[in-house]
Symmetry: none
Subunit: 252 residues, 2 copies
């Protein structure tokens, strides 16, 4: 089974139905599907539906209950989002570390991830029903995240836990062409030196240094096979024009 299906998002006493819709969309974007609403104000509401966009199905399946306890029933891990420092410290992880743990546990059992009221968050009593608190790092100058944004960040971290190890940090991982090999690259540089020489371009004070800088440029860029062909085509074209003009670069 997909661990993401074992994670429920619980929104407690949400005031703004737009946030419920936006949270539903954020969940579906990231592959979450279980939404629980504890005594939402003004719900159902048109604003929730339009903010949900193509996640209206998820919203329609949302489970509406009266109490916190009903919403977390059956879950073996209950995690509460907490912005504030508490007088009694509770186990607390940032969103990234918490989501790695949540994802791991969701392989085995249900997890509830609880978000509080827009204005006051979760009460101390609610936070003390959680095994773990989760905090999203923010700037001290303005630390209050919109509720749906907080759902988005946590859902994103759960998705990252889901796909981790599958996304290489190689920006050319899905390239459409092979990288040119070392010999093709050297032939390009030989051709470049000949053509730029004929054009008179390397006759300035520091010909060697110019070629070194061109080497550094094209070596670090990891040229693909077609790019080598294009560059050599440009060089060949330049050589044609130099010949046609009767020059060999020495008259410049």
């Amino acid at each position: 089974m997909n661990p993401l299906d074992n994670i429920r998002v619980v929104l407690v006493h949400t005031s703004n139905p737009g946030n419920i819709g936006a949270a539903a969309r954020a969940m579906k974007n990231m592959g979450l599907s279980q939404l629980y609403l504890v005594a939402p104000h003004r719900y159902p509401a048109d604003e929730a539906t339009w903010r949900a966009a193509n996640a209206a199905d998820l919203l329609a399946r949302a489970v509406v209950v009266e109490t916190f306890d009903e919403a977390v029933a059956g879950c073996a891990l209950v995690v509460g989002t907490s912005a504030r420092e508490r007088s009694i410290p509770w186990p607390l992880l940032d969103a990234r570390a918490a989501c790695q743990r949540i994802y791991g546990e969701a392989r085995r059992h249900g997890v509830a991830l609880v978000f509080g009221r827009e204005d006051r968050g979760l009460t101390n009593e609610e936070l003390q029903k959680c095994q773990l608190h989760i905090n999203i790092p923010t700037d001290a100058a303005y630390s209050s995240l919109n509720l749906a944004m907080a759902v988005q960040v946590v859902a994103y971290e759960l998705r990252m836990a889901h796909v981790s190890g599958q996304l290489p940090a190689d920006p050319m991982a899905d390239w459409d062409l092979d990288c040119a090999d070392a010999e093709a690259i050297e032939r390009l540089f030989t051709h470049m030196e000949q053509a730029l020489g004929a054009m008179g371009f390397l006759k300035a004070d520091a010909p060697k240094q110019t070629m070194t800088r061109l080497r550094r440029l094209f070596q670090r860029t990891r040229l693909d096979v077609m790019e080598v062909n294009i560059l050599r085509g440009i060089l060949t074209s330049a050589q044609y024009w130099v010949r046609k003009a009767g020059g060999d670069g020495r008259d410049r």
Copy 2:
């Protein structure tokens, strides 16, 4: 200086002013401060102001411009958000890896992080003005993130890079020269298209595609200021030989 102050968020042709306000709030929550708006529809608007909540100051300082180029002027790294698979792959990183790189580069120079239209994202032309594309992993069943949510996720990853204290892997961290900025790069491409046109090199079957491939090559290589000068010198030299031969490319 704080690298986060060197990163500008650029929203292109935003339709819904609520998204502008929500993006401003997300930015301030995460410690970003530089917002640029390219030809926003229906803006200023009350909805932007109330969605911004306590980030109204950031919204009031937003720079409104008419074109993409104005918004990225002065930045040495331009990063575009891209949801779709492209026919020609461009250097692409997920939000986490991209933000580590962006944060690292923002120690040295300005970075523009560009978000497209709600319905269609960035155009191919706009994406080809970027050195790097960034993708937020989503579920295939519903991959279209709300614009402000996308800003939130990326801003969050930038904050995580900020608080992690780790130096990102930046192969050009100790470079001897400044990176060329966006305007210098665009002038290079304009010059390149003119020179290759005069040489007859772009008259083959697919002139546009050749320029796209050249853009991809030189965008991903992060040209420094001297390299731009060398390349423009080569182009000027080629133009000299074409003129001297009395040709304008049409006789090839």
